[in-house]
């Protein structure tokens, strides 16, 4: 099932990655332009499913680290991600056979494709987050025992720093972040060197393909003037995520943002159509919790991290990031349940609601929806 991606496929993946970014992850635009330019320049982006990766193969995760908003201004020199990959290979004394995205949501869906095209090796259809998360240790690889380091951070000058923190992925994150800020707020990393067997055991499989299917569904629905959000939901049902439902459709009535500890935090309020209720979403880079508040002020959680809370443009079906949310936008909030591999106790220890400062335990989306909605819709 090895596939070669076309320029059009990249458009689709960018749209889908925006949706999987759940409000964060950064606009994939620059990444999309980079990959499409690489393809036009004659490079090839090949995608394989994790099942096709030999157990003994060497796989390395690739990503951009730092603020996506910096990337919009300080475009990469071009080979940062590749340089990181090369330096990591030198460090571990092995050559990578495959690249795997660290994070499928947002801009980071694209950086690994570029690195892989430049290195001339395939990309594994999967990632370590299944969405977007704000920190490096929030990866399934690490959750299931793959050490993140050695990790290499590279910048546009060709400088790189190798971080080796053993199995302490939290310390790795803090080292790498310190270096990233020194490098101008955005840098490109290679990390989690692992075997094919590790990939099969720890990766969230098929997410690149899922992003592409999301994008294709949105594109086709728009061409056919049919409901793009229903199309997204039906793609979810055939994926390992398995369940999606529309939490609410309404109009944005208020957005408040502030920067706390380097994260863009805030609250988004949506007046729900056809009801007196208000949907309140808290975000911290990504959307982390959605509560339905009735006119009496009684609030009820209707979706919580790590389930995906996707705010989509009601007409186009495309994702709206927390940065670009504005009063008056017509939005549909789509909840997508998190796949099995991301809801184990050890996984929830790393990205459960409490890791984001919420005083809640995780309740699966389908359970939250159960009393109101008997069957997955639409």
């Amino acid at each position: 099932m090895t596939r070669i991606l076309t320029v059009e496929d990249i458009d689709d993946i960018a749209i889908g990655a925006g949706i999987l970014g759940t409000g964060g992850g950064g606009d994939p635009l620059i990444g999309r332009l980079l990959v499409q330019k690489a393809i036009r320049d004659g490079l090839t982006v090949t995608v394989v499913h994790p099942d096709e990766v030999p157990d003994e193969a060497c796989v390395i995760a690739s990503a951009m680290m730092g603020a996506p908003t910096v990337v919009v201004e300080k475009l990469p020199a071009g080979e940062e991600a590749l340089n990181s990959l090369r330096a990591l290979e030198t460090r571990i004394g092995k050559t990578a056979d495959f690249i795997i995205p660290m994070e499928i949501g947002g801009l980071n869906s694209m950086i690994p494709l570029l690195a892989a095209a430049q290195a001339g090796i395939p990309v594994v259809d999967g990632d370590g987050m299944g969405r977007a998360f704000p920190e490096l240790q929030m990866e399934t690889f690490g959750v299931y025992g793959v050490p993140g380091s050695p990790l290499v951070v590279s910048d546009a000058n060709g400088d790189h720093v190798v971080v080796e923190t053993g199995d302490d992925n939290v310390r790795m994150e803090s080292f790498a972040r310190a270096v990233t800020i020194r490098m101008g707020g955005a840098a490109y990393i290679a990390e989690y060197p692992m075997s094919g067997a590790d990939v099969k055991r720890t990766a969230v499989a098929g997410t690149l393909g899922l992003a592409q299917s999301f994008g294709a569904a949105v594109r086709e629905a728009n061409q056919a003037h049919s409901d793009p959000i229903a199309a997204i939901a039906s793609v979810v049902q055939d994926s390992i995520y398995g369940y999606a439902h529309v939490i609410a459709t309404g109009k944005v009535t208020d957005v408040q943002r502030q920067v706390v500890d380097g994260f863009s935090s805030g609250t988004l309020k949506i007046a729900v159509f056809g009801a007196e209720d208000e949907l309140v979403i808290d975000f911290r880079n990504e959307n982390i919790i959605a509560r339905m508040v009735d006119p009496a002020g009684h609030s009820e959680v209707v979706g919580v991290v790590p389930d995906l809370i996707c705010v989509l443009d009601s007409d186009s079906g495309e994702a709206i990031t927390t940065e670009s949310t504005r009063y008056g936008q017509r939005v549909t909030v789509l909840g997508i349940s998190t796949p099995e591999i991301m809801r184990t106790p050890e996984a929830l220890k790393v990205w459960g609601p409490r890791c984001f400062g919420l005083d809640h335990d995780w309740t699966p989306l389908e359970q939250l929806a159960a009393p109101k909605q008997a069957a997955p819709a639409p």
């Binding site: 340089n83 546009a156 971080v163 080796e164 803090s174 310190a178 270096v179």
Partner: protein, 319 residues
């Protein structure tokens, strides 16, 4: 090993600790494995370490490197990269000798390592002379080390190659270790000021003054290592400016001696040297000045380490 006559194969490796010097370091002692780990990691980057050179002879780092050399069974060069003690990596001699400090290996208190660079920073600078490149590398390494120390809140071991042993004489400040040990012996044995005088004369040094510490001004930053104090007795009034290290001495308002000269403040009873944070009011002290140990690039050295590099608005005065 004398750096001026070193001909052995292999490279000299600089070793030292960067970060908040005494606080975290005295609480969180090095395990002893950090220096070997750093050298081993450098070896994996192709550095064939055949000798150790301290980052700076002054303070903890002088001895730490000697200890590390012993641990590694490597000779230690009778030299360092600063001639004294200096606060910033980009003041160290490779930064103006055309020698890159990259790649550098950092090791923290938990044995976690970082390798900084590999590619030289010079590529990013239109002026691609070796000096510009090494200065940029030094600044870059300094910034990374600071960022990491902030992130870890403690200290890190810093190590990097200063080049092959046969060429190391162009980079280092030579003969500082034996000088330090000679002065150690002299001071330990000293019974009186007049007993010191011949040794000072021999090196062109002098006693700037003695007396009791009559005033101390510490604005309260850096745990009391920045500020000034005065020494007075019947003779002239001395004023010593300090910023971790002693930087300048004025006698009766005239600048008598400044960094990079070696300024020593000795306990008048024991003749043992005091650190900036050990200066106490009313303590009896002797202030001495020795000419600096100079590297081959002496002009660059004086420029990089003179009063202006510490933000003091006067010319360097050397004994």
């Amino acid at each position: 090993m004398d750096p001026l006559t070193a001909t052995a194969h292999g490279q000299a490796v600089a070793l030292g600790i960067a970060g908040a010097a005494d606080g975290p370091l005295s609480e969180q002692l090095p395990s002893g494995a950090e220096f070997p780990a750093a050298v081993e990691r450098l070896a994996s980057l192709g550095v064939d370490a055949q000798a150790v050179v301290p980052l700076e002879v002054g303070g903890f780092n002088g001895l730490a490197a000697v200890a590390a050399a012993a641990q590694l069974s490597l000779p230690v060069l009778d030299a360092d990269l600063s001639g004294r003690a200096l606060p910033w990596l980009d003041q160290f001699s490779p930064a103006y000798s055309g020698v890159s400090m990259l790649p550098a290996v950092l090791v923290d208190a938990h044995g976690r390592t970082m390798v900084v660079g590999g590619a030289t920073h010079a590529a990013a600078v239109p002026d691609t002379t070796a000096e510009a490149g090494s200065a940029a590398d030094g600044r870059y390494l300094e910034e990374i080390v600071r960022a990491v120390v902030r992130a870890t809140g403690g200290w890190v071991v810093v190590s990097f190659s200063v080049g092959t042993l046969s060429e190391v004489a162009d980079v280092v400040v030579p003969h500082v270790l034996l000088r330090a040990s000679r002065w150690g012996r002299v001071l330990a044995a000293a019974q009186s000021l007049s007993g010191l005088q011949p040794y000072l004369d021999a090196e062109g040094g002098r006693v700037l003054g003695d007396g009791h510490v009559s005033a101390i001004h510490r604005p309260g930053v850096d745990g009391g290592r920045t500020g000034w104090f005065t020494v007075s007795a019947s003779g002239p009034l001395l004023r010593v400016d300090m910023q971790n290290e002693f930087l300048a001495v004025a006698i009766d308002g005239s600048m008598a001696c400044t960094t990079p000269a070696v300024i020593g403040v000795l306990d008048a009873r024991t003749f043992l040297p005091l650190r900036a944070d050990q200066i106490r009011l009313a303590a009896d002290v002797v202030v001495i000045a020795l000419p600096p140990s100079l590297p081959r690039r002496r002009d660059a050295y004086v420029e990089r380490t003179g009063p202006a590099s510490f933000g003091l608005d006067f010319e360097a005065v050397l004994p």
